[in-house]
Amino acid sequence: MSMTGENLQRETDAVTTLLLSMGDDEFVTGHRMSYWVSRGPSIEEDNAVSSIVQDELGHARLWFEVLTERADVSLVELAVERPAERRRNTVLAEPAYAGFGDLVVRNFLYDEAERLLVEAVHGGDDDVLADRAGVVLNEEPYHREHAALWLDRLTASDEGVSRLTRAFDTNVPHATDYFAFEESVASTLESEGVVDRAFDDLQQEWADRVVERVRTLGLELERSPRELVAAAPTTNGRLGEHTDELTAMTRQNLTVY
C-alpha cells in the first residue's frame, strides 16, 4: 500500500481541499446510508434508499476522479485507504443512525447544504468541476424530494414528532461545519472563481432554509433553531477534525476490500 494521499498538496491547494471535502461527504454518507438497505420500513423504501446510496457513491467517484487526473493518486487510495485524519467530510455524515427519522433529517440537512455548494461550483470558472457539478445536480432533486416527503409524513404521529425533534437537536450541530472551510481555502476558492458565491452567503442561505423547515414542521427544538444553525462547529470535518466513528469506519473498510 502506498502512502495514501502523500502526493496530494492537501494543505496548500484549495481546489484539492474542496474536492476531498465533496468526495468524502458523498463517500461517507453513501457508505453510512447503505446500513438501511434491508432495514428500511418497507422493501420499497429499501430500494429507494439503495438507489440514493448508489448515487452518492457515484458522486464520490466523480469528485475523486478529478484528483486522480490532477495528481499521482488512485481512486482506491482516495476512497478506501485514506485514513480518517486525512478526510475532509462534514461530521454530519459520521455517526451511526439513531433510527429512520435520523436518516431522514440527516439527508434533509445534507441535501440542502450540498445543493447550495454544488450549485456554486456549477456556476464557477473551473470547467471540469462545473461540468461534474451539473451531473451531480441532475440526481439530487430525487434525494430532496424523498427527504421532504418523509419529513412531512413523520410528523403525523407523536412518536414521529419526537424522533424528528431529537434528530434535529442532535444533527444540526454536526452540520454546521459544512461551509466552515479554512479561511484561506474559502477565500482562494472565491477569488479564483471556483465557486460563484461566498461561503458565508451559502451558510446563511442554508441556515435560513433549515430554520424555515423546522418552523413549517412545527417542531419545538431544545434550543432555538436560529441559535443551533449559527453556532460554530465543535468538531470541524473541513479542517480534518473527526469523530471516533469515522476512524472506526475507515479502519473497517481497510479490512474488507
Partner: protein
C-alpha cells in the same frame, strides 16, 4: 409501516410508459401511505436505467375489477365467423 396492528400503508398499482407514444403498462405494486409517497417510491422501484418516460400510480382500491368467474367476459356462442381469418380457413379446406 405498522404501529402495532395499525397499518398506514395501502397497495398502489404502478404503470410505466417506456417509450413515447406507447401506452402505459402495468409494472408492479408498491405499498405506500399516499399517492405522492407511492410515486416517489415507484420512481426507484421500476427500472430507471431503462429510462421510463412517465409513471402513473393509483391506489388499488380505486380500481373496479372483474373476477375470474365473471361469465360476462366470455361469448356464449361460437362467433368465429365474425373474423376474416375464418373465411380464409374455410376456403382452404374447400380446395383441399
Amino acid at each position: 409501516m405498522t404501529d402495532g396492528d395499525e397499518t398506514y400503508e395501502e397497495p398502489f398499482e404502478v404503470f410505466v410508459q417506456w417509450q413515447r407514444g406507447k401506452p402505459h403498462e402495468y409494472a408492479e405494486t408498491v405499498n405506500a401511505t399516499d399517492r405522492e409517497m407511492a410515486l416517489v417510491l415507484a420512481k426507484r422501484n421500476v427500472d430507471v436505467r431503462a429510462e421510463p418516460i412517465s409513471i402513473w400510480v393509483a391506489p388499488r382500491s380505486a380500481f373496479a375489477a372483474t373476477t375470474p368467474e365473471d361469465t360476462t367476459l366470455a361469448p356464449s356462442t361460437d362467433r368465429e365467423y365474425r373474423n376474416v381469418a375464418y373465411y380464409a380457413m374455410a376456403a382452404k379446406e374447400e380446395t383441399e
